[in-house]
């Protein structure tokens, strides 16, 4: 094989002269029927916001690791995970906007904390801020991505074609997130005494917010066939987490659950500052484009 440039062989058909621009991409939602199914429109929009806000708020938290991760490779890995989730958030908020007559940017930047419908697990500070560290981050990533993967997997059968398509794309992404978290959980738990103690502390911090992930909301129950009833995900998520914890030789945290409902807009006091930072440019310069 003789190639002048190592990347020539990576380019399909030689259309792109510059490999740095990649080899093209496909739109995951191309050709999907965007007709709104025969369900209560407010409910469907609320459900899209629930799943979209989970992804948006968590992507914002993961983005806080940019330039602060323990290693360069991990910096890129966490940023990639955040971008995957942000992409899912965009598609879901766009869908909610379609139904309500608004758009993704208005929903993302102009709603206040009480209007956000994410689970509280997504919004808490797990590091690099004062609320945690890399171990806490991995603990939350493990729980969140295991739960979201099970949810999206079930959602691929949704009667709403857009939700089914978003879920089908998301499953491939979140499968990798869950693997990444599990690999790190094993290494931290099996590393030094210090890394093991940080992993355990991280799990203890996020565990009180897990019951909320499986508590069905009236909107989800009314949208049977379109939405996923999260209580049906519990056994799958528990079995995956038990497998990882078992391999890592970690016990299930023995901590009480924290009552509360992010799905109803009742959030911790950590969401406000997060949104303030996320929204400040858009709010300071309304209607700005670049």
């Amino acid at each position: 094989m003789s190639f002048d440039n190592a990347y020539e062989s990576l380019i399909e058909g030689g259309e792109e002269k510059h490999w740095a621009f990649g080899t093209g991409f496909t739109d995951a939602l191309a050709g999907v029927d965007r007709e709104i199914p025969d369900v209560d429109r407010d409910d469907l929009a609320a459900y899209c916001l629930m799943l979209g806000d989970d992804a948006l708020v968590y992507a914002q938290r993961l983005a806080e690791w940019c330039s602060r991760a323990p290693e360069l490779e991990e910096d890129v890995a966490l940023a990639n995970i955040a971008l995957d989730l942000l992409g899912q958030a965009r598609m879901l908020l766009t869908r909610a906007g379609e139904i309500q007559g608004t758009d993704e940017d208005t929903l993302a930047y102009l709603r206040d904390a009480a209007e956000f419908r994410n689970v509280r697990l997504a919004e808490i500070d797990c590091g690099p801020g004062p609320g945690g560290d890399f171990g806490t981050t991995i603990a939350r990533l493990l729980v969140f991505s295991t739960w979201r993967l099970a949810l999206l997997d079930a959602l691929t059968g949704s009667a709403d074609p857009v939700l089914a398509a978003v879920a089908a794309k998301g499953v491939k992404e979140v499968a990798y997130h869950r693997d990444h978290a599990a690999q790190w959980a094993l290494r931290l738990a099996g590393g030094t005494e210090f890394s093991r103690s940080r992993m355990i502390a991280g799990l203890d911090k996020v565990w009180p917010l897990t019951d909320e992930l499986f508590t069905p909301h009236p909107v989800e129950l009314r949208l049977a066939g379109v939405a996923v009833d999260p209580s049906t995900l519990r056994s799958e998520v528990d079995s995956v987490l038990d497998t990882v914890l078992g391999a890592a030789d970690l016990a299930r945290p023995d901590v009480p659950q924290s009552p509360g409902a992010g799905r109803d807009g009742v959030h911790t006091d950590e969401l406000g500052p997060l949104l303030a930072e996320m929204q400040q440019v858009a709010r300071a310069l309304p209607g700005a484009v670049w």
């Binding site: 399909e12 093209g24 290693e71 490779e73 890129v76």
Partner: protein, 95 residues
């Protein structure tokens, strides 16, 4: 593992239409399994490939630049090693 003790890995990626893995760069990782994942995160972001090989850099034996002349110069002046005396048909792409 401390910051300084992650070993170096060389990364090879094969594209969808490629027939072989191509060296695309290097990275640090705590072990082989994480090296493959780090390579996926760093070197396949723009759909560059469908297969990744990672090799620990210290497992690679390389020729020394000092020995360039004895190693490679003798191959430059032996015309009998090149099959230039055959006619290759136009429609044979990979030869």
């Amino acid at each position: 593992m401390t910051r300084s003790s992650w070993p170096l890995y060389e990364v090879f990626v094969r594209g969808k239409r490629g027939l072989n893995h191509v060296h695309v760069g290097s990275l640090h990782a705590p072990d082989d399994e994480m090296a493959v994942r780090n390579a996926r995160d760093l070197y396949t972001r723009r759909n560059e490939g469908v297969s990744i090989w990672v090799v620990r850099a210290d497992a690679i034996t390389a020729s020394s630049p000092d020995e360039k002349d004895p190693f490679f110069a003798p191959a430059g002046d032996k015309v009998y090693r090149h099959p230039t005396f055959y006619d290759i048909p136009q429609d044979v792409p990979h030869l």
